[in-house]
């Protein structure tokens, strides 16, 4: 197990290096001089030249790449052009906001998706099954941003049940400790604020969870259908165990591997979908951070934002890989 983990970890290195190379390449492929972008069009040639020099932009590309790599390894993600502050400190609150949102969305997706899939498989070809599968089909075909807009229209504008923007109320903002507001409010014993944070989370989390929910439901259904037909389920049934017990205990355990895979893959979709969801709901996460950076052509922020998200995605899949062994003893780690 340890050997396998180390081996998998070592195999990550080329992927991570390749990622930095791509992100680095993207910024360098962008037309126009970064110094000019930073200084504005009125800059004097001398000023541009000296900034070029101080940024190391007069070096050949590989020298620049290695110094970029060195920066990243030492935790330096560059400086935002817009705010002129280091990105590594600026990005953390955004990252926390995205993690909180994605985490809640994933919980919704797993809970709703798995249960819908199980019930669909159990009551195969029933009205319930058809309804669930049609909803799942619409779910995978749904543009996240449109769903978000509809939610805002229905629940915020028309019904006025839930807030449509941000993580907290402007006049009652949360005092950040970890920047994970659900935890922060609990740590401070502010249960009123905890409730407020939850109310803010509901709409964006549902929007973000839609596609993963639909995919997990479809996947669960098909793997459950296979499992339910197997001999040991028939044996359990013959022994007179209650169906609901059989389904959840035996079958779920065996259907978990494919589901786990989907969860790993969906994290990428979730993190990608975050940029759209966060834009609509004014959720101050990495997605919105990148979106705003695009509007300002703040390339260092775009670069680092993309890198951070891709890094998280890779790590989640790494963990999912290791988790396989916990759910399927047949997988031997060599």
């Amino acid at each position: 197990m340890l050997y396998y983990s180390v081996k998998r970890l070592l195999m990550l290195i080329p992927v991570l290096l390749g990622m930095t190379l791509i992100v680095f390449g993207i910024i360098h492929a962008i037309p126009g001089n970064p110094a000019l972008t930073i200084l504005g069009t009125k800059a004097t040639p001398e000023a541009i030249h000296s900034l070029n020099k101080s940024l190391g932009l007069d070096n050949p590309w590989y020298v620049q790449y290695f110094s970029y790599l060195k920066d990243i390894l030492s935790g330096n993600l560059g400086t935002s052009i817009q705010t002129n502050s280091p990105i590594s400190s600026e990005i953390w609150p955004h990252l926390a906001a995205t993690i909180e949102l994605s985490f809640v969305a994933m919980i919704i997706a797993v809970f709703v998706g798995i249960n819908a899939g199980i019930i669909s498989a159990w009551k195969q070809n029933s009205f319930l099954d058809y309804t669930a599968m049609i909803l799942a089909l619409i779910g995978v075909s749904m543009p996240v941003f449109w769903l978000g807009l509809l939610e805002q229209w229905g629940f915020s504008i028309k019904l006025q049940w839930l807030p449509s923007i941000g993580r907290d109320d402007i006049r009652n903002s949360v005092n950040p400790i970890t920047n994970l507001y659900l935890i922060d409010t609990l740590l401070q014993g502010r249960f009123d604020q905890f409730w407020m944070v939850i109310r803010h989370l509901i709409l964006p989390a549902i929007a973000l969870a839609t596609i993963p929910t639909a995919i997990i439901a479809r996947m669960t259904r098909s793997s459950m259908l296979e499992v339910l037909k197997s001999d040991y389920i028939r044996t359990a049934k013959a022994k007179g165990q209650r169906m609901i017990w059989i389904v959840y205990k035996y079958a779920l355990k065996n259907a978990f591997i494919p589901i786990l895979t989907v969860i790993g893959l969906q994290t990428g979709l979730l993190l990608g979908g975050a940029i759209l969801t966060e834009t609509i709901f004014g959720w101050p996460g990495v997605g919105l951070y990148i979106y705003n950076a695009i509007q300002y052509r703040d390339y260092p922020v775009i670069q680092s934002g993309i890198l951070v998200i891709a890094f998280i995605f890779v790590m989640v899949n790494f963990i999912v890989d290791l988790l396989y062994g916990l759910f399927d003893p047949r997988i031997k780690y060599r």
Partner: protein
């Protein structure tokens, strides 16, 4: 056995059905029974017809502005209402079908061509090139696809065509991996070894023996990816990284009208419905094709 065939040859000269035609027949039989897939085909055909005949169908020009009738609710004159410039939303959505279908088809065709090329090189020639290409695929797939498209559009500049290119690039590794694994399988088939043994060159083997036997999964994946390509293009349009005004691209229409959602929800409702419907159509066809062509791909 050779004696048995000594009968008058003439009466046996029947042009036999090729396995291709038989496969198509079998496929059609399976596909026809799949009602959802038929529904999907009808939806997609409907949108394709709309796109082709957009000029004849649309009641108004897509860019006919009339501030006097801005943000009007659906009516007999304007089925889907009007937007903030007083343009007819129904007409714009029909023309938008053109843009979305074009992006979907071209992006996927582009990524199939490039992905097939790279996948064949990796799978057939192997060794160093395989390692290089497969690693590159791994790395590209490590990025969430919409983020990578955004980054590519950031390089190329925001426009619908650049969004198309970005989506195509992002999809290349999907097809590349698929083709590579098919090539690895087919390459070991004995008829490919036989083809080499008669002195056949690599190119001829690839085009006459390997690719024709790798076709089914590419078609399935391609159909499903048209759906995601349309979604991604709309997403990019929504973020201002795709189609630019005044193009009637559905995602762009949504982002333009979101500020009017309170008073004129129809401006947001209909473009979104159009996206959902066409994407549902492609997903249904894709699922149906998978069941009919390649039962092993079912999950």
């Amino acid at each position: 056995m050779s004696q048995a065939t000594q009968a008058k040859p003439e009466q046996y000269i029947v042009k036999d059905k090729s396995p291709m035609i038989m496969a198509i027949n079998d496929f059609w039989k399976a596909f026809r029974k799949n009602k959802p897939a038929i529904a999907g085909s009808i939806i997609v055909a409907f949108f394709v017809l709309l796109a082709i005949f957009a000029n004849f169908i649309t009641p108004q020009g897509i860019n006919d502005q009339n501030i006097g009738i801005r943000l009007q609710p659906p009516s007999a004159a304007h089925w889907f209402g009007t937007d903030d410039f007083g343009r007819d939303i129904f007409s714009r959505i029909i023309f938008g079908a053109r843009l979305s279908l074009r992006v979907g088809f071209l992006a996927v065709i582009g990524s199939i061509i490039v992905g097939t090329f790279l996948g064949v090189i990796a799978g057939y020639f192997g060794k160093f090139l395989d390692v290089l290409i497969s690693r590159a695929f791994d790395i590209l797939l490590a990025f969430p696809s919409i983020l990578l498209s955004i980054a590519i559009v950031a390089i190329l500049g925001p426009s619908l065509n650049n969004a198309l290119v970005a989506i195509a690039i992002v999809n290349v590794p999907v097809f590349g991996r698929l083709v590579r694994s098919r090539v690895l399988t087919v390459k070991e088939e004995e008829y490919v070894v036989a083809a080499r043994s008669i002195g056949m060159g690599d190119m001829r083997i690839i085009f006459h023996h390997v690719l024709p036997n790798s076709f089914a999964p590419i078609i399935v994946q391609g159909t499903l990816n048209i759906a995601t390509a349309i979604l991604d293009a709309a997403g990019l349009g929504f973020l201002g990284m795709g189609a630019q005004a005044p193009l009637p691209e559905w995602g762009k229409m949504l982002s333009d009208s979101r500020e009017y959602i309170q008073n004129a929800p129809w401006t947001v409702l209909f473009p979104g419905l159009a996206i959902v419907l066409v994407v549902v159509g492609f997903n249904l066809i894709g699922d149906g094709l998978r069941d009919a062509l390649d039962p092993r791909m079912k999950n």
